[in-house]
């Protein structure tokens, strides 16, 4: 029993990262109507700014801030591409474009960071925060989950109570109608990419020490992130948050079982498949009425 709990708790850091990435994916989809496959890669770019500077002997925290700035810039660049050339495209086209950009980013990233050989990733938050039923909960896991909750709360507050948030909600529903009222649609869209870029960069820095920190592995964290977003049907921040946490915990649990632990990477795919089948069933039932 205790070993089960240990496995579950071990999944919490990943859970927090999945949750935050998932909430960012919902944020991007709801506000700029893009299913963004580059989410984790943008954060990874920022993380590698940190790793490179730290390797070169720069102090840790300035490197962290430079890394967050790097993630923000990467987000802005991708956002610029999407809003300049694909603003009017169909959702499926935009998703396909981000897949292409992901492939490009991974190729460039692997080239610049010296392929798949492992890097030294400084542990930003070593140690444990508290004990849960006798099991150590690391600071890293408490922090990623905290960050995910914070992002969700901030997003809710920002969208509902600020003028810019109102513009974003208008823009997400009818971009052209918003633009015709003088809303600075392009600027706002790029702002959304910047915000998600900085948050995902920080989240990936926290989780990177526990993964093999190479550009490809980290970029592909977008798969569980999109699975979490899908659980929230790309609409609900809170359900995506919960989806990400459950996904991480289940992954932790599964890795505690010898026979199945090597298949734990398939869990997000099962979730995606399950949600899609379930939502299709809903559609068919609606059609039949």
């Amino acid at each position: 029993m205790n070993s089960l709990l240990t496995s579950a708790v071990a999944g919490l850091t990943a859970a927090g990262a999945y949750a935050l990435l998932g909430v960012c994916a919902v944020f991007t989809y709801r506000l700029v109507a893009v299913v963004n496959f580059t989410g984790a890669a943008i954060g990874t770019a920022g993380t590698f700014v940190l790793i490179t500077l730290y390797d070169a002997g720069f102090p840790l925290w300035p490197s962290v801030f430079a890394g967050i700035a790097g993630g923000t810039i990467a987000g802005v660049l991708i956002g610029f591409v999407m809003t300049t050339w694909f603003a009017e495209s169909a959702a499926s086209t935009k998703a396909a474009v981000t897949v292409a950009l992901l492939v490009g980013l991974i190729a460039i990233g692997l080239r610049l960071t010296g392929g798949q050989h492992p890097h030294v990733m400084p542990d930003l938050f070593p140690g444990s925060a508290f004990r849960l039923a006798g099991v150590e909960v690391t600071i890293a896991s408490a922090l990623t989950i905290g960050l995910a909750v914070l992002f969700t709360l901030l997003a809710d507050w920002f969208l509902n109570l600020t003028r810019t948030g109102l513009h974003l909600r208008a823009l997400s529903e009818r971009p052209m109608a918003a633009e015709l009222l003088g809303v600075r649609v392009k600027l706002l869209s790029i702002f959304v990419w910047a915000v998600t870029g900085s948050f995902t960069a920080f989240a990936l820095m926290i989780i990177a020490p526990q993964r093999s920190p190479n550009f490809m592995t980290l970029s592909l964290l977008v798969v569980p992130a999109l699975a979490a977003a899908l659980v929230g049907l790309f609409r609900s921040f809170w359900i995506a948050l919960a989806g990400g946490i459950v996904l991480g915990v289940v992954e932790g649990l599964v890795s505690g079982f010898d026979g199945v632990s090597q298949y734990r990477g398939a869990i997000p795919f099962l979730v995606i498949l399950g949600v899609l089948l379930w939502s299709q069933r809903g559609a068919r039932w609606d059609d039949a009425r």
């Binding site: 109102l166 909600r169 208008a170 918003a178 633009e179 009222l181 003088g182 392009k186």
Partner: protein
């Protein structure tokens, strides 16, 4: 001098020339009515003027400032208001939130409620739940709160009850009398000509009439011919 001018504007859609070489002027304090049969190219022209579609040729000026290369948002901020056909409310935002989206610093929400008192009791209702008439009032009020100098409205009366149409026409007259320049696209030709000053008629992407409303109103046969195409303006 006209506040708003379009000079030999052409607009394409999917590579096809839909609007050809159209001239149009709108004066401050007047209503210009743009008529034409379904498919004549009225909406396409307005989309070209507002920047929704990039124009294929010609120039657009607002107070002497060239706008043909500006994004729709920049044209809006320069003072060109555009109410699209189909009552494009933000359905998930409340009436009040809709009004606040483009709110100009010098404007106040209460102006919208003064103009359309029926919106007051609907202020906290999602705009998707409003009636057609209320939605049309909302998009007009929303555009007015951006403080436009020129307001273009496409198919203002489509699908609305006659009482409401009459109401909106009177509102247009009042706004023009207060100094606004209005370009109104209408299916109800007689009503629009009655309230308007200058009239334009489009046919197959070309401007075939530019004159005062009175002349057209007094010669219904002529207008009829423009719609059906037997007028000798062909070619």
């Amino acid at each position: 001098m006209s506040i708003f001018k379009a000079n030999s504007v052409s607009v394409n859609r999917a590579e096809l020339a839909i609007v050809n070489d159209v001239d149009l002027q709108v004066e401050r304090g007047t209503i210009s009515v743009l008529l034409g049969a379904n498919g004549a190219g009225k909406t396409t022209l307005l989309e070209g003027l507002s920047g929704v579609i990039r124009i294929a040729g010609g120039t657009i000026e607002l107070e002497g400032q060239p706008l043909q290369r500006a994004r729709p948002g920049a044209r809006a901020r320069a003072g060109l208001g555009y109410v699209e056909q189909g009552r494009t409310v933000f359905r998930e935002l409340t009436t009040e939130e809709n009004l606040r989206v483009g709110l100009h610093d010098s404007a106040d929400i209460s102006e919208a409620y003064a103009l359309f008192p029926e919106l007051v009791q609907r202020q906290d209702v999602p705009a998707g739940l409003l009636s057609g008439g209320e939605q049309q009032m909302l998009v007009i009020a929303r555009a007015l709160l951006t403080r436009p100098k020129v307001l273009m409205i496409d198919e203002m009366s489509a699908g609305l009850a006659p009482v409401i149409v009459g109401r909106l026409m009177q509102t247009m007259r009042k706004l023009a009398d207060e100094g606004l320049a209005i370009l109104l696209v209408e299916q109800f030709a007689a009503l629009a000509l009655d309230v308007g000053d200058r009239a334009y008629v489009m046919r197959r992407g070309r401007m075939v009439y530019d004159g005062d409303c009175k002349t057209l109103l007094d010669a219904p046969d002529k207008l009829h011919d423009f719609y059906l195409g037997s007028a000798n303006t062909e070619g």
